[in-house]
Amino acid sequence: MERFSGLSLLRHAMGGHQGWKPFWREPEPKPAYDAVIVGGGGHGMGAAYYLAKQHGMRNIAVLEKGWLGGGNTGRNTTIIRSNYLFPESAALYNHAVKLWETLSEELNYNTMFSQRGVLMLAHTVHDVQVFKRHVHANRAAGVDNEWLSAAECKAFCPPLNISANIRYPVMGGALQRRGGTARHDAVVWGYARAADSLGVDIIQNCAVTGIRRDASGAVEGVETERGFIRTRKVGVSAAGNTSVVMAMAGLRMPLESFPLQALVSEPVKPDFPCVVMSNTIHAYISQSDKGEMVIGAGTDAYTSYTQRGALHMTSHTLDAICELVPMYRRLRMLRNWGGIVDTTPDRSPIIAKTPVPGLYVNCGWGTGGFKATPGSAHLFAHTIAKDEPHPINAPFSLERFTTGRFIDEAAAAAVAH
């Protein structure tokens, strides 16, 4: 793997940028692997990297039905934060934020992680009380989060409209300074490049179509568009399509898949300094390094696999954005798109073993799993390699839906990005 640095960039510039090599190989699938990951998003690609790097499993493959990062990884609004309410979730997301902080160095690839702060606005007395409770719970758990008055919100994010005459005036906000954004494609490309250099086979345009089990019920291999691949360990990291893949092994999941949309404006000069989210009026917005305002809408009401959503979802969000930041009324929107997010009943993810020996699943990240990418990948690799969960992901089991030990962020946060 060529080491990237300022110097290497300069060297390539002198050579007219003619000398760049592909970041990873395009190998033919082998007949057998020690482990196979289904899904080449950030979570799956990252799991393969940690399996190779930390657990010495190098004879492994990632099978992706489309292109790397073409699922939710490349479709999300890249908000990263860890100020969740319950100790299990705070520990999980904070594990990820810590890995984000050194990820670019670790992968020798710029993930453009930017800790510009995530500000969550409160618009009702209830919001204020809930957010303050979050702030206290987070601080007790060692996760940074602080309360700002409306005037302090405005000082932190000057484009905000905090006047009293909007429909839902800003009453304050919770700010996590260590939160921010990262470049979504770079994360999966960085993991892919590093995993490939450790010997991991990345096989794109190769959908898994079946999971074969032996007489004892254990995983024997996967059927794919490019033939049967023998393996004893299969890690499913297929986001919105998890139910479909798990059904191949005869398992029903506590998941429903919904469309979630995002859109970007025309690029403008740097104006918006942080990430702002508002669950109550459903708006969230940040500015990409290209200058586009990146805006997230809500999920549609019904399950779907179409990777598009209804127009009224996006226009509802734009109504809220235009109230919060009136000058953006004159911005033109350039593109909108949808992804399919897999949601659990308690809106917390599942990183776990399954009743099928050799079958592991990482799913249920719903509308908010980008922020967890390195943490989730790291814990999923541990679970696959050791055949048992890491203490951080042990509570995020499939069994919790039978025992009732929920991690009920659905009730605590409502919107999870």
């Binding site: 479909v244 029903r252 999941m253 009401a301 696999y305 179409t306 009943p345 009732g404």
Partner: protein, 92 residues
Amino acid sequence: MLLIPCPFCGPRPELEFRYGGQAHIARPENPAALSDGEWAEFLYLRDNVRGVHAERWRHIHGCARFFNMLRDTTTDRILTTYKTGEPRPEAV
């Protein structure tokens, strides 16, 4: 936005409706006899079909009644609607 044919009122915009999830999940006849696993299945496990999905809708801002609908989740095309209690029609 979907244009949903309510079996009682005719075609109306999706905003008048509330989605009710997977259809034909019968409430257990004898809840006390259910194991934890059976409760989990009833409450939380869903088919989450990629293809033709039978689902409940309620015309909350219209006649307020529940009904069922077949919709292809790969295209969002609505195949048919039918009344609660009626068996699932053959996919058209």
